[in-house]
Amino acid sequence: MTPIPAPPIAWNALLPILVLAGTAMLVLLADLLPPRESKQHLGALALAGIIAALVIALVRWGTDVCGFRDMVRLDGYALFFDIVIAYAAALVVLLSMDYLRRRGAESGEYYALVLFAACGMMLLASAGDLIIVFLGIELMSLSLYVLAGLFKSRRQSSEASMKYFLLGVFASAFLLYGIALLFGAAGSTNFERVAAAAARNPHDTLLLIGVALLLVGFGFKISSVPFHMWAPDVYEGAPTSVTALIATGSKAAAFAALIRFLTTALRPLQPDWTALLWILAALSMTVGNVVAIAQTNLKRMLAYSSIAHVGYMLVGLVAGGPQGTSAILFYLFAYVFTTAGTFGVLTLCERTGGTPEPDGDGAVDVREYAGLGRRSPALAFALTFFLLSLVGIPPLAGFFGKFYLFGAAVRAGYVWLAVIAVLNSAVAAYYYLRVVVYMYMREPEGAAATLAPSFAGGLALAIAFIGIVLLGVMPAPFVELAQVAVAPLLR
């Protein structure tokens, strides 16, 4: 029997992921050491790993490595997303430390799972093959399912986790079926070869069904209408810090894989999926925004709003080309800071009138935020800015994100879609600003949110705040970065 030659291992192509995975193991090991009063050191360790991954991604900027038969690519595009994901993960870890401690839910597994989820996300960003897409999605999702149910005794948390899991696996089944059919049609799961096959026979039935089913899976992960229904329930039920990770990192990663898949593997089918995404974008924006208006639970409102933001980003994908695609990257960068900041404020707010109930959810009702402007001016000020950025008020990050996205759509000739998008952002202003009105112009009746001081949380908010202001005041260099990142995709 001839020995099977060991395939060459391209460590370089996996470096940031390996660092994160290694840190996750370390966190698990360190958790076994004699218990201390607090587990903050585990959070710090996780943070160090994330920062290391971030530094690696920054240092390697400008390089392009392929490995494992082109299954994994660490090019500018992947590095851009690695940076975004590292920021998201770092902010979430910072936000979690005191949030979990106040609820007595600190554990080593938590940080390890966050790191594993981040590994999955980075894998998705580097995926050049459908197998890697599948592995990345599962690694990310399995960690998130567990994280969503972290507050075991809280019924909403376990319910959210169960729903997320059942629907997530259901969506994975569609995704996998789609991958199988695509493999049958193209004879390979590699993006480049799928592209070649699609170019030969773009209207192969097997191929088209496969693509549609794959889009169902992706649609679930990015929570686009009509695959969005899990999002509000899970966002509401999961611990707020986990919600922040689901809303930022997992969305960014799913978009990373979706964009690369559509623009490289399915370029021959561009007219088909563009028309499809046009409808999904319009639906997502409209349903998300309109339903958000009627919400009083902030986490739920943000869930619907995040569905709307997915719609905006799909507009960029419809527009396509370097401008549309780079606009999504920029938007995601801005979105991560804004959303992490918004959820961050929620993690720092507790109901007054008693200690936080174990596994409780803190202050999440908009009415509890009445008068926050006077009780904690700095916090209210920060939340106002994050919400204004979500509205898209210049000169904050959200404005330029929308500006580039809708501008690209108009340039590409999708004027009506841009009009729908702009109308939607006008509607969205209503529910975001209602929160601001409550904070500054109402007095609380009954329970009220107050600041639960936390150094790490404050640091996270400061980072997010600087992020949205910086991206708003000088967007030019970051847009250039995004354009460099998407260049290899569109060759």
């Binding site: 169902v216 309109v290 370097p322 780079s326 008020i393 809708f406 967007p475």
Partner: protein
Amino acid sequence: MSTSVWLIPAFPLAGALINMLFGRLTGRRASWIAVPALLGSFLAACAVFSRVWHGEIVTARLYPWIQGGEFTTAVSVAVDPLTGVMLLVITGVGFLIHVYSVGYMHDDPGYARYFAYLNLFVFSMTMLVLASNFLLLYVFWEAVGLCSYLLIGFWYTRPAAAQAGKKAFIVNRVGDLGFGLGVMWLWVAVGSLDYADVFKAAGSMEPATATWIALLLFMGACGKSAQIPLHVWLPDAMEGPTPVSALIHAATMVTAGVYMVARSHVLFERSGVALDVVAAIGVATAVFAATIGLVQTDIKRVLAYSTVSQLGYMFAAVGIGAYAAGIFHLVTHAFFKALLFLGAGSVIHGMNGEQDLRKMGDLSKRMMATTITMGIGALGLAGMLPLAGFWSKDEILAAAFFGHRRVLWGLLVAGAFMTAFYTFRMFFLAFFGSPRMSREVAHHVHESPRSMTWPLVILAVLTTVTGLAVGIPLEHGSPFERFLAPVFARLEEAHSPVAALALAVLSVVVVAAGILLAWMLYHVRRVKAEEVGQPRTWVHALLLNAWYVDAIYDRLIVQPLYALSVLLARAFDLGVIDGIVNGLGRAVTGWAAGFRRLQTGFVVNYALTMLVGAVLLVGYLLTR
């Protein structure tokens, strides 16, 4: 040497940041930072203006802002005569109002916050007029709106103030939506947003494109400058502190729309239609708001509707191509309306917060300085010779007359009559006749402190002399017009002096008639408080309710939208999707009892929705 240009916005920005971040430290001393900041800004503006006066166009560039592909925009500013004039008005009137606020707000717990917002506003407003491209303009267009929103709702514990703030913001969003689309379209059409490029390209633009862009931009102007149909927020905005009403909702921010239309006049002229729309909306608003002003009983609401009406005059002016006249009216209006608002503030201050004209009367005895300066302001607003308002309004009327817009001219003259009437109705009701306030209030009435009366005196002087100094039309237009000539590249053609004189005389007569009528009805006759502001006829009722515009909006837009939202939230997520599931379930139970368990609960509903989505996706891709 362009540093002094940056000083104009930098001073108030620094003041705002200090008071915002260290408000607890500065506290009562917030004005020590805010007021000198405005003085510095004003002096810097004067320095820049003197260079512009000598024919220089001052420009400065901070850093490239957006660099992507074919589209580049820098954070850069330019000062030409138009901007120079605006800067002087903003920083000058702004400074006076800051000084006034020291007295007016001195007991308010939010002292530092107030000055922080006010400084922030001046910063945004100066940047708005300094901007040399549409994107920067748009950014600060939104920023001044934000400041306005914050200041309207400054006393947020009052529900009316919070409500008014929200209303202002929502109505402005409608306008800004148009403005944003207009800017975007400009970018698509021209490929640049720099004023220089846009106005160069506008000359050869398709007139239809120009019309659409201009109308969208004008939509923004309608929101910001409270023109029909977006005028509804301004009267409610009076819930804010009175100096704010004077600065933002009379003198500066609300005129941003006029400034923007004048600034982009090349684009509007290319369209032609757009200019006519501007003129029509302006005249309609001028008359419409004046009619409402006739019957108001709240002193600030009278002034608010008069502001709406006067803004209509400015739009009418730029709409018929008399840009310089429109801007001149903007300047004089800033002086006399700020004066009137500050005077009204002084009255309110003296009367312990009372704003109802029916409970005033005979204040002239106790508040001499306020009465005299208010009187000058009222004459200025009415447009009486030789005050500033006369010259600026007369030029608008003359431009309409000689531009062969006789219908518009007639309407504007009617508006002038009403303006004179309601201004003096207010004046007589407040300061003369018999006192109608309660005994305690009557005992309390006092003149305001020096810091409040001095700004009134200075504004009164400005109202008196501005017209005589720069507004008298000579052979080649007034000095003001000639100064602005490089911007608008067009002078009013000379018309026969006899006709011009006749128009001026007519204008004086109309104003005098209005004042006389007010004098007869509200001074000669004894005023009965219970009769003022009572709907005696249906016309009265119509005017008192501001033509029911708010009620109509509520019925036609607000309520249906809210109902739709609730419907979609409840019905779409629970009803329709459940309905589909239930309906499907029922259909299926008809022929297979085993499938009855389809309705298993919510997770399953979600799964089913996904399945339906998947089927639709597959179907769509296959049938394409």
